[in-house]
């Protein structure tokens, strides 16, 4: 392996633009002697270093594996175009950062599936690593390729390239998988995979087969063996306090996207926004205790030398003891010159008091997400926030000294009309007026960021389609004109990447050929404007007899079999249907912390006990 390292460091790195991305000997990086490890995994993030290194999940798994003396985890990211060209032209394989070992020399290659626009990049990394693209054609010596993260909840578009997927909290599944592989090296790939499929949370796509009717409509995806579960269940960590947390963050040399420490307050969310996939697939709500969080924060600062720590979760204002935690932690960290930041605040939890606390620790930008412009549409999506909440939150923020605010909205939500677009503009006007009411002079900087709603699997909106391309453009135009007139800055998402994301998010196995062709045509890093090629993707769809726009805008009937029905997020389809119908009737559902809505999570959690000895989902009941 030494040869690779010497050649890579001495001959290749001096020729690339940002060598520190590929150096890999950052502080807290773990480079073990691989020849003495009984299990070698490489964790891949299918994007550039700066993006991948900002991801908490990667840090969690990296430390979880490396904390085991006999196991090694290394990292690999997608190289930028300069290094990619060198690797390709000089037939130098894509290697891990830590020991500069070719990907093919590992036992396990794990990709995180964070967003659909990274799927072609996965194939590029496999190709650069010299790994056979099709899982069923891989040799016995090649690594097992596994995927996890949100994308694993509809993994069918990638089913041919992955040996298996892990659904849910990998802290739960991964140690079982690794122990099994460590002890069963003699087994064939097929035998390993069959055994792995018995572990909760593991889905082996080659053991499941889609059935179609004579028109080519999906009838369902069924297991090939009677001993396999009809539905693969998601794995859940019951007690987050007891779960592993990385206390030694790898400290990059260059600056990365989120260049700070991250402390996860809790997992899950009880708000039940109907568009939100994370709100479903991370259920139930599991909090870390303030004592644990404070201890973790102290250690994180000491081991990394960072001067900023962000509290992270899906909705940090919902943490039970948020006020106390921010005050106490803020004070402790301030003593060491470390700033505390608090992204992901719901605006109804942003009271005057919390505004003051957040301001004391750091006056960074403030972002609120009303998501929709009218109360009717906010009721449709179950974003239980009122105009009064928003105005009171921004007034508090302005009074506390903020002069700029960012607002997030979506267009294309089910049932949206032009009235809802006018509602956005109206709301923005009121926010600007609140600035003067708060006693401030001049005008605030209001940035309005509007994305296109993309329906995702396992949500109440999974049956809905993306709105049509011309409709997206028309609605964006309306907003562009009126928001500029209102004096706000308008930011929007491109229509073409949205079409692709929507087509990949709810498609089935037919997409494997499309993604493979797109990769052949050179598609990669599609989340970056400078790399995204709509034409190449269009071509890849068409050559396979598919239309991207058609797939993106496709509406499913409530009774249609869905390509992800064989995967169990813990939330029942019955519940999702009920929520969808409520949405179409513009009826809200309660926060399930107040009153259990019977989503089905308690079934998945049976036999699992949280730290107080009860099921992790409190007050659960079933319909």
């Amino acid at each position: 392996m030494l040869d690779y390292k010497v050649k890579f460091w001495d001959e290749i790195l001096p020729r690339v633009q940002k060598p520190t991305r590929y150096l890999g000997n950052e502080v807290n990086a773990v480079a073990k002697d691989l020849s003495r490890c009984s299990l070698k995994a490489v964790l891949a993030f299918p994007d550039l270093y700066e993006v991948g290194m900002s991801h908490l999940g990667l840090k969690i798994l990296y430390s979880l594996i490396n904390d085991h003396e006999q196991w090694a985890a290394e990292r690999v990211f997608m190289p930028d175009t300069d290094l990619e060209a060198i690797l390709q032209n000089e037939a130098f394989p894509l290697c891990s950062l830590e020991t500069v070992t070719p990907l093919a020399a590992f036992d396990l290659l794990g990709f995180t599936l964070q967003y659909e626009l990274s799927y072609a990049t996965i194939l590029q990394m496999l190709r650069l690593g010299g790994i056979t693209l099709l899982a069923l054609s891989r040799g016995e010596e090649e690594p097992l390729v596994v995927g996890g993260g949100p994308g694993a909840f509809n993994p069918e578009p990638l089913a041919h390239f992955f040996d298996f997927f892990m659904l849910g909290d990998a802290e739960e599944t991964l140690p079982q998988v690794l122990s099994f592989l460590e002890q069963n090296k003699h087994l064939s790939r097929a035998d390993k995979l069959f055994s792995l499929s018995r572990i909760a949370g593991v889905y082996v796509p080659s053991l499941y087969m889609p059935d179609f009717d004579q028109h080519g409509n999906l009838l369902g995806i069924r297991p090939l063996d009677a001993n396999l579960p009809r539905q693969v269940k998601r794995a859940v960590v019951a007690d987050l306090d007891a779960a592993a947390y990385p206390v030694k963050f790898v400290v990059p040399y260059g600056s990365i996207v989120h260049d700070r420490l991250v402390l996860e307050l809790f997992r899950g969310c009880t708000r039940g926004c109907r568009f939100c996939q994370a709100g479903i697939i991370y259920r139930p709500l599991r909090e870390r205790t303030p004592v644990k969080l404070k201890a973790l924060a102290k250690e994180l600062v000491r081991t990394s030398g960072y001067d900023e720590l962000a509290l992270s979760s899906l909705s940090s204002g919902d943490y039970s003891a948020i006020g106390q935690l921010v005050t106490e932690l803020g004070l402790e960290l301030a003593k060491e010159g470390v700033a505390l930041s608090l992204p992901s605040l719901r605006l109804d939890s942003f009271s005057g008091e919390l505004a003051e606390q957040v301001k004391q620790v750091r006056k960074s930008g403030l972002t609120f997400a009303p998501e929709a412009g009218t109360q009717r549409l906010r009721d449709v999506i179950n974003k239980n926030i009122s105009e009064a909440d928003l105005i009171s939150a921004v007034t508090d923020a302005f009074a506390a000294g903020w002069t700029g605010i960012k607002l997030y909205f979506m267009i294309g939500l089910p049932t949206e009309t032009d009235e809802d677009l006018e509602g956005i503009v109206d709301l923005v006007r009121k926010v600007m007026a609140a600035y003067r009411q708060a006693g401030c002079r001049g005008k605030p900087r209001v940035t309005v960021s509007v994305s296109v709603f993309i329906p995702k699997a396992h949500t109440p909106f999974q049956w809905a389609g993306l709105i049509r391309r011309d409709e997206i453009l028309r609605r964006q135009n309306i907003l562009r004109q009126s928001l500029r007139a209102a004096g706000a800055q308008f930011k929007w998402h491109g229509v073409e990447p949205s079409l692709l994301e929507a087509a990949l998010a709810r498609g089935g196995r037919e997409l494997n050929a499309v993604i493979a062709r797109a990769a052949e045509l050179g598609c990669k890093l599609d989340g970056w404007d400078e790399h995204f090629s709509f034409e190449n993707w269009q071509q890849a769809f068409r050559e396979n007899g598919l239309e991207m726009a058609e797939m993106a805008t496709r509406q499913y009937d409530l009774d249609d079999p869905l390509p992800w029905d064989h995967l169990d997020s813990g939330v029942t389809k019955t519940f999702l249907k009920k929520e969808y119908k409520l949405a179409l009737a513009a009826k809200v559902s309660e926060d399930c912390r107040e009153n259990c809505l019977g989503c089905g999570m308690s079934l998945l959690l049976e036999g699992k006990n949280g730290k107080d000895g009860k099921g992790a989902c409190q007050n659960a009941r079933l319909d």
Binding site: D10, P14, S304, E336
Partner: protein, 221 residues
């Protein structure tokens, strides 16, 4: 307490930019729990500065930091700092300097450089060096924000020699304020253009009583 630290920047750390290197030191100082002083004002930053910037790709055993701490520190503190540095950065020495000492950066006036030569290069480089030293002036063009200008670097080349035994080129070049020669400029004149990756900085010098002294040895009061 004001301190000068001498350190080495070896491969693989040679790929760090000036900005990256500053961040690495700031974080290392924080990990070692050393009480660094901060500037006053709205945008506070730690009082740490380098003696002289080093181009990306170049290694060195003569780099210096000038740091202001809020407390007195002992040797153990600096051992802690050395231990927490990433592989490829190494502390070589430290000394306390009087609070009133001007910034180290403003005192540096020369730098010693070394370039290992391949066996077949030695002879022709030797000849080129002789030619260069015989010249009464050597003008190079430099581009700055204000436009192009020509500079005579001959008087700023203090010494230039090929050590045939060690098979390396060694250069003592002016390096401070306006009077600076970039090693690349000399290498270009010697027709050795693309060898920056082999370049190594040996030492920085301060002027003291008419001669050059190393920062760790110079007398300060």
């Amino acid at each position: 307490m004001r301190v000068w630290i001498k350190f080495a920047k070896e491969s693989p750390m040679r790929f760090l930019s000036h900005l990256d290197l500053m961040r690495v030191w700031q974080r290392a100082i924080r990990r070692a729990c050393l009480p660094v002083a901060y500037t006053a004002g709205f945008n506070r930053h730690p009082k740490i500065s380098f003696a002289s910037a080093l181009a990306v790709g170049v290694t060195s055993e003569g780099e210096y930091l000038d740091i202001q701490f809020t407390e007195r520190l002992d040797g153990a503190a600096f051992e802690r700092l050395d231990e927490t540095l990433p592989h490829g950065l190494k502390m070589l020495a430290w000394r306390q300097v009087p609070e009133s000492t001007p910034a180290l950066m403003s005192l540096v006036c020369a730098a010693q450089w070394e370039l290992p030569l391949q066996v077949d290069e030695s002879r022709c480089v030797q000849e080129a060096v002789q030619k260069l030293l015989a010249a009464s002036s050597l003008t190079v063009e430099r581009e700055s924000k204000k436009g192009r200008k020509t500079v005579d670097i001959r008087p700023l080349i203090y010494s230039l020699a090929v050590d045939e035994k060690a098979s390396c080129l060694s250069m003592l070049l002016a390096s401070g304020g306006e009077s600076v020669v970039r090693p690349g400029e000399v290498l270009k004149l010697l027709c050795l253009p693309s060898v920056l990756g082999r370049l190594h900085r040996i030492e920085l010098y301060l002027a003291s009583g008419g001669s050059f002294r190393e920062p760790m040895a110079v007398l300060l009061n």
